[in-house]
Amino acid sequence: MIIFGEINCFGFCLETSSIAHLVALFFVISIALLAASFIIKRPKQRLQTFVSAQVAVLLAIAATFYTMKCSEMLSFYLYLAYVGITGILIFGVVRFYDRLMIKRLDAKPAGNIMEWVQKFVNQLASATVYYYDSAAPRAFAAGRSIFVSIGLLEVLDDDELKAVLAHEAWHIRNNSRTPYLKQLAIMTFSSHKSSEIEELADSFAASIAGREALSSARNKVDKVFI
């Protein structure tokens, strides 16, 4: 088995290396930080500990890389690639996804056609509301933008629209946490239900616009707004 050969080789190289204790230290720190990120409740600090844990793992890998004299490093290359890709996903794509959607949908600021919409969202989150040309009533959040179709603006009354906007604004406020939770779920192979996130967004929307407005908005929108 190649993988056992690699582990043996890794152990051997580590024993003979002078910076073995450094590698061990980085691994211990990263595991401690990862454990801490599970316990900490506040989203921002949780994210920070999680990122630091990743950085510590990267440092440990870099030190191991330096120590290793053997060539079979496939598994470490793979992990490195994995960390790189997830890093790009979290901090790249998620951040610029809304720019992509604005272009694709040819979306325009909703403040142009309904002034109060942008003002209402400003009170809840720092996000821009865009509308796009479609009769199908739909709404979704991406990056720091909320997208609503003209069809949605047509069918909802003001209270219902407020409920939908509050729901999406909640997503924006927690977007920094959501992709991180999803990535954590992949890394730890635990299931993280997106319906839980939707429920949280709904209870926030209900507290802003009222439960009645929220449920009547849900009945009017053909695809459930996400």
């Binding site: 309904m114 509308y131 040309d133 479609s134 009769a135 003209i150 069809g151 047509e154 053909d222």
Partner: protein, 119 residues
């Protein structure tokens, strides 16, 4: 269906060329000229959830046009037919005749002249 690549000869009238919902919307637009979405759902009694996607399709295929208007603080689509009933009939006829000539050549042409003689 809107693109005329599926013609169903067993159906009646416009539904030979359009889906029933598309045909009803086009018929309403030709009769009324300009219509809001709410007027369309009322006139055709098709629920909004079914009509919305069809309206997007008709606009994309170029059979209807729409503009956005702000009517007393509310955003509304105003739909109008992109072409008159005659123009659409003309387009469909030309396209089918082209296809008949393309498929059967002289036989199709011979039948056209027989048909016009009969008339």
């Amino acid at each position: 269906m809107v693109k005329l690549d599926q013609i169903n000869l067993s159906k009646d009238g416009l539904t030979k060329f359009f889906s029933p919902i598309e045909a009803e919307i086009l018929r309403a637009l030709w009769n009324e000229g300009e219509m809001m979405t709410s007027e369309l759902t009322e006139k055709t009694s098709i629920p909004l959830t079914s009509i919305a996607g069809t309206l997007d399709r008709l606009v994309k295929a170029g059979y209807a046009t729409r503009r956005v208007e702000n009517i007393s603080g509310r955003v509304r689509y105003i739909y109008s037919p992109a072409a008159s009933e005659e123009e659409v009939a003309n387009e469909i006829t030309t396209k089918i005749l082209d296809n008949l000539v393309d498929a059967f050549g002289p036989v199709a042409l011979e039948n056209f002249s027989k048909y016009s003689d009969k008339k």
